[in-house]
């Protein structure tokens, strides 16, 4: 019966195993970090990191190094700049920020164009912007695990002060907590999470994995610790199911063109969010 759902070769494929492993690590990190992104209303900052990361990922391709390094370098640098000029809570209507982000995408467009010309790799654009977990090389897994552990470790260590700062900076300041420093450290953890997400589901949609499962979890539980667990589980579920469906989709039509993993992951995340929101109000208080 399993055969009907899972197409032949799925379990034995090393590409599938790698995509599932990298995807799981990424989803756990994104869910854990993302709960605070939603609580702190910083999804705009996450979106900005994702957009700027596109320039990083594409320049890495041009330089011939793994795109993860490009995403990481640009996202961490961008987090530093955002912290310095204090735009992390800025909203979409902030024109200057929009122009800077536009310039980031402009750079990405240039790098991707050059990459296509010199390296003759037309898949680069799709890979950087929308992700392509089946084309990952095994050497990326230890890197993803290491940077994922760094981001998770930061959240675990900062958990209580970060929660208090996110609930009320005034309460935190009254307890002599370094509000600004905690916010800055969190922003760097978010930069790591966005960079990891970008490797898996692409730069543009990296915030979907950060914010989507977290926003869903917030509907399902009223405890912060549980919200983190639920967000991680939803993320891993969407990622694995997305990998499975993308693999299966190769056999859906006779032409054998598989659909991208990112499409399935993002759609599943959206469906989970809609389902959570549609729950009866009484249940939502749980």
């Amino acid at each position: 019966m399993l055969r009907a759902i899972v197409e032949p070769g799925f379990w034995g494929s090393s590409a599938v195993q790698l995509a599932a492993a990298v995807g799981a690590v990424t989803a756990i990190v994104a869910g854990c970090v993302g709960v605070f992104t939603v609580i702190r209303s910083q999804s705009f900052a996450g979106e900005a990191l994702g957009d700027l990361g596109a320039a990083g990922g594409s320049s890495a391709y041009l330089a011939g190094i793994p795109s993860l390094w490009g995403f990481l370098g640009v996202d961490v640098a961008a987090a530093g700049v955002m912290e310095l000029i204090g735009i992390q809570r800025a909203r979409g209507r902030d024109l200057a920020t929009g122009i800077v982000l536009g310039a980031g995408f402009g750079l990405a467009a240039l790098f991707l164009y050059l990459g296509t010309i010199y390296n003759n790799t037309t898949g680069v654009t799709v890979t950087v912007l929308f992700g392509s977990p089946f084309t990952l090389t095994p050497s990326v897994l230890p890197l993803v695990a290491a940077f994922g552990a760094l981001a998770l470790g930061a959240i675990v260590v900062l958990y209580r002060p970060l929660l208090l700062v996110s609930v009320s900076p005034e309460l935190a300041a009254a307890r002599r907590l370094p509000v600004r420093l905690i916010g800055a450290l969190y922003l760097f953890a978010m930069a790591l999470a966005v960079a990891l997400s970008a490797v898996t589901i692409g730069a543009i949609l990296s915030t979907a994995l950060l914010v989507g499962p977290a926003a869903t979890a917030l509907q399902l539980t009223r405890r912060p610790g549980r919200a983190i667990l639920v967000a991680g589980l939803i993320g891993v579920g969407a990622m694995w199911l997305g990998v499975l469906l993308a693999y299966d989709s190769y056999y859906w039509s006779s032409s054998h063109h598989g659909w991208p993993v990112t499409f399935f992951v993002v759609t599943l995340v959206l469906l989970a969010y809609i389902a959570a929101r549609a729950r009866p109000a009484r249940g939502r208080a749980r």
Binding site: I39, P161, V167, E170, L218, Q219, R223
Partner: protein
């Protein structure tokens, strides 16, 4: 000249829970607090009364150590100040209704929110939180999301959050500002009970003194950055307040309520910060 304004403080038998001595604060070249001196003792309920912009929040920031005074000194608990020595309830507390945080989670953060790491489940911690939930009569809503509670319910949770670390001083910044009359009375009664039962010094700021009159042991009256302090009947008098404002001010007592009236009779000056709060030249502290 400020010294003359001070109604006589009875000699302190023990070290005060809070001693503010000759504190002067300038912000952007403007003198916000001008040689403010007063003290609060354990078990006393003190109202810090003044119109908007009189310097109440700045005074709290100085007491909390968040604002360095230009001159003067603040002593808390009779000696060196430790974290948790001051319980603080901030003025504006707005939480997203979706925030995954129960009332008892926020109370627990008052105990160990400044510590790193994830809180380990412990029976002692749970019992202490439960004790505080009962102390503020929050049993009925301590398991609901904080962001979905009413203003009065949130105040109770915040008071428990502030008290759980067993401070010697409790500061509340305009806790009655957004409450209906009944909730305000309940919160005032609760604070009065806590002050006497737990021998905590309570300093509560308000722009209106009448809700506090039944329980206020002493008053600190702020106007134009200058303060007069002492028992209510000694401070809220025409001579004292006229001197404080630098204009003639009448104090009327009507049905147990106090109304401070500026600019009537021979003095046509209105007190700007008073008039701004009420219709015409009348009303004021009310």
């Amino acid at each position: 000249m400020t010294a003359e304004l001070l109604a006589t403080d009875p000699p302190a038998t023990s070290a005060p829970a809070l001693g503010v001595e000759d504190v002067t604060v300038q912000l952007g070249g403007r003198t916000v607090l001008d040689h403010v001196t007063f003290s609060v003792r354990a078990g006393e309920f003190t109202g810090l009364i003044g119109s908007n912009g009189a310097g109440k929040t700045t005074l709290f920031r100085v007491i909390l150590g968040l604002q360095q005074p230009l001159a003067g000194h603040v002593g808390v608990g009779g000696g060196g100040r430790a974290r948790g020595d001051i319980g603080y309830v901030p003025q504006k507390f707005l939480l997203d209704p979706d925030m995954p945080l129960r009332g008892r989670d926020l109370i627990g953060l008052g105990l160990d929110g400044h510590r790193l790491g994830i809180p380990l489940p412990s029976r002692a911690r749970r019992a202490r939180v439960e004790e505080m939930v009962e102390a503020v009569d929050a049993s009925g809503f301590a398991d609901a999301r904080v962001g979905q509670l009413s203003g009065g319910e949130q105040q109770r949770i915040l008071i428990a959050h502030a008290l759980i670390s067993r401070p010697s001083l409790l500061l509340l910044d305009e806790p009655l500002a957004n409450l209906d009359l009944r909730s305000a009375q309940e919160v005032v009664q609760l604070l009065s009970r806590i002050a006497s039962e737990q021998q905590i010094a309570v300093l509560i700021s308000a722009h209106e003194m009448n809700p506090l009159l039944p329980v206020m042991d002493r008053i600190v009256y702020l106007a134009d950055g200058r303060a007069a302090s002492g028992p209510v009947e000694e401070v809220v008098r025409s001579e004292v307040l006229s001197k404080l404002y630098g204009h003639h001010v009448d104090v009327l007592r009507v049905h147990g309520r106090v109304i401070v009236v500026a600019g009537t009779g021979h003095d046509e000056h209105t007190v700007p910060e008073l008039a701004a709060d009420g219709p015409g030249a009348v009303e004021i502290v009310e």
